[in-house]
């Protein structure tokens, strides 16, 4: 019996750790069901009549629906474009190893290692110069560019793991390269494709700085809405912030729940594999 008791204690400790890390997020969600006075009450109230007013008001804002649409539209289209072109490039890097592969892979990665304000500065000047600021195409293509390094690195790792015998068999049997790439390689690297899709999605979904600088009224996403809508007439608008954050965290948290297996490969550019 002693072992089971110890196991229970061990499990209780693990749950406690998880709850400690989740506590601030739980506090946000809890606050989103409070009135403005309850959010600022001292001492903080734990028991209260939950209200859905904050959500009703949030979704009544036309600007919010527009920004939510932007968040979805920008992240989904940028990520799809990025993964599609990255898959082709990763295949080329993996199979043909054209001259300069290592150097290009290095350059690609270094884009992602640069602080955001340094990365966006020249793009901002270019966009102002060309009049691309606050256009959907401008935003989507920039986000796609920023998602490419990650996708190429993840996908190259996965394609490296598929034996070239498959290509060879396909060639011998007269299949075109396009057919080999889409019918033979793609199905085998689906986990890599999923990892690249969801981690770039989370990145673009949460991205604030680039959107704030090269976006505008038309293309602003929810993180920008949160920053610009921070203050209402009576100080910081906490009901708006808590409701908005609670809505906005749903997709990333669902991703972590459903795609836990891909978390590791996704967060390490595909350089570390393994189950969690």
């Amino acid at each position: 019996m002693r072992t089971t008791w110890r196991e229970h204690a061990y499990h209780a400790v693990l749950w406690l750790v998880a709850l400690v890390f989740f506590a601030p997020i739980a506090w946000i969600i809890l606050s989103s069901f409070k009135t403005a006075d309850q959010i600022l009450a001292t001492p903080p109230v734990l028991l209260f009549r939950p209200t859905l007013d904050n959500y009703v008001q949030l979704f009544a804002r036309e600007s919010f629906l527009h920004q939510l649409f932007n968040s979805l539209f920008l992240s989904i289209s940028a990520v799809l474009i990025a993964v599609a072109v990255s898959f082709l490039a990763a295949f080329s890097f993996s199979r043909f190893k054209p001259a300069g592969t290592d150097f290009l892979m290095f350059l690609l990665l270094s884009i992602r290692m640069l602080p955001g304000s340094a990365a966006i500065l020249p793009v901002y000047l270019m966009y102002v110069g060309f009049g691309w600021k606050d256009t959907y195409a401008g935003m989507i293509l920039f986000y796609a560019m920023f998602s490419i390094p990650f996708s190429v690195w993840i996908l190259k790792g996965f394609i490296d793991g598929v034996s070239p015998r498959f290509d060879e068999t396909g060639r011998v049997n007269g299949a075109s390269w396009l057919r080999i790439i889409t019918r033979t390689i793609l199905p085998q690297v689906m986990p890599g494709v999923i990892a690249a899709l969801i981690f770039n999605f989370i990145f673009v979904w949460n991205e604030f700085l680039f959107n704030y600088i090269i976006g505008g009224l038309q293309t602003s996403n929810v993180p920008v809405a949160l920053t610009t809508g921070l203050y209402s007439s009576g100080g910081v608008d906490w009901t708006f912030i808590s409701a908005l954050t609670s809505v906005y965290l749903v997709p990333p948290v669902l991703v972590v729940y459903f795609f836990q297996r891909y978390l590791l490969v996704g967060m390490t550019f595909g350089t570390v594999r393994g189950e969690v």
Binding site: P44, S92, L114, L121, M126, N173, G174
Partner: protein, 316 residues
């Protein structure tokens, strides 16, 4: 589809000796063709802007003055290197990276070891989702909400402090506590990442060696050093490097929380650049600073790839 299967004669045309390398080695436009889209993206959105940046860093140019850029040679770089404010921001960033990543690594490794045998934890998936959630929450949103948690009058943290008889503190508003307060949020957000990396590192240890360590009755310290760290060190190093690079870039988290304040006590170098570029619109100076940060990032990337190759060699 049978129609697309090879005619027998095709095998005869296969190059002698066979092997994928052989027939892929034939000069073909395909490798280049497949790269065109990525290269196009890379050239338009990276190479051209970077060259633009590089060029501008040699000019005196402000967007607010309305004057055309004036060639200034290395003046911007000289100004930056002589600017004690920039050095202060850089050293503050260094302190932020070292203390943040250091604490995250130690705490992450301890929690990772704790979660090592959690396979039978009831609701494990939910528990891990809760643990990993801080990493995927929008940084501007968590930064904003931590402001409420830290608030001197309405914040839950100060209520707890007052409840146990301690004096309340204006964590983010007081220049002596603001840096530590921001650091705590960064640690909360990113310790789960080091837990994840530690779990991956532990999973890379061969079972047989763990059993051997058990039989040889190694002490826990010997086990950690000789077995766990011996096999897991590459993954941990990659984790520490990724965290270092990311921490060096910290911007969104601080943006709504303190925006570098009070004074400049939480102003990391990414914020410095933001202020000079997008508030003061001093583009020449900012470009020069961005070039310096670019060089630092390239050094980080090179180190990361060096560790990757090192691991590949060790595992080969």
């Amino acid at each position: 589809m049978p129609g697309e299967l090879a005619a027998p004669g095709l095998h005869a045309r296969r190059p002698a000796g066979g092997g994928i390398a052989r027939f892929l080695g034939r000069r073909t436009v395909l490798p280049g063709l497949l790269l065109i889209p990525v290269l196009a993206f890379f050239i338009v959105w990276n190479t051209i802007p970077t060259l633009w940046l590089l060029g501008l860093s040699f000019y005196r140019f402000s967007l607010t003055s309305g004057r055309a850029p004036i060639y200034a040679g290395l003046l911007n770089f000289q100004n930056i290197l002589n600017d004690s404010g920039v050095w202060l921001d850089l050293s503050r960033t260094l302190l932020f990276v070292i203390s943040g990543v250091g604490i995250q690594t130690v705490l992450g490794m301890l929690l990772g070891l704790l979660f090592w045998n959690s396979q039978r934890l009831p609701g494990r998936r939910v528990a891990l989702t809760m643990l990993f959630a801080p990493m995927v929450l929008t940084p501007v949103a968590s930064g904003t909400f931590w402001r409420l948690i830290y608030d001197p009058t309405f914040g839950v943290l100060n209520s707890i402090l007052r409840g146990i008889g301690l004096p309340g503190t204006n964590f983010l508003g007081d220049s002596s506590t603001a840096f530590a307060a921001v650091l705590v949020v960064d640690i909360w957000m990113w310790t789960p990442f080091m837990v994840l990396m530690t779990l991956a590192a532990l999973a890379s240890v061969p079972k047989a060696e763990l059993e051997a360590a058990e039989i040889d009755q190694l002490t826990w310290w010997q086990r950690l050093r000789l077995v766990l760290l011996f096999h897991g060190k590459y993954i941990l190093m990659l984790g520490i490097l990724l965290r270092t690079i990311d921490s060096f870039k910290t911007m969104d988290l601080i943006y709504n929380m303190t925006f570098g304040g009070p004074g400049t006590t939480t102003q990391l170098v990414a914020i410095t650049l933001y202020r000079r570029a997008f508030e003061a619109f001093n583009m020449g100076w900012s470009s020069a600073l961005a070039v310096i940060l670019l060089l630092i990032s390239i050094a980080f990337t090179a180190t990361f790839i060096f560790v990757l190759h090192w691991r590949d060699k060790a595992e080969a």
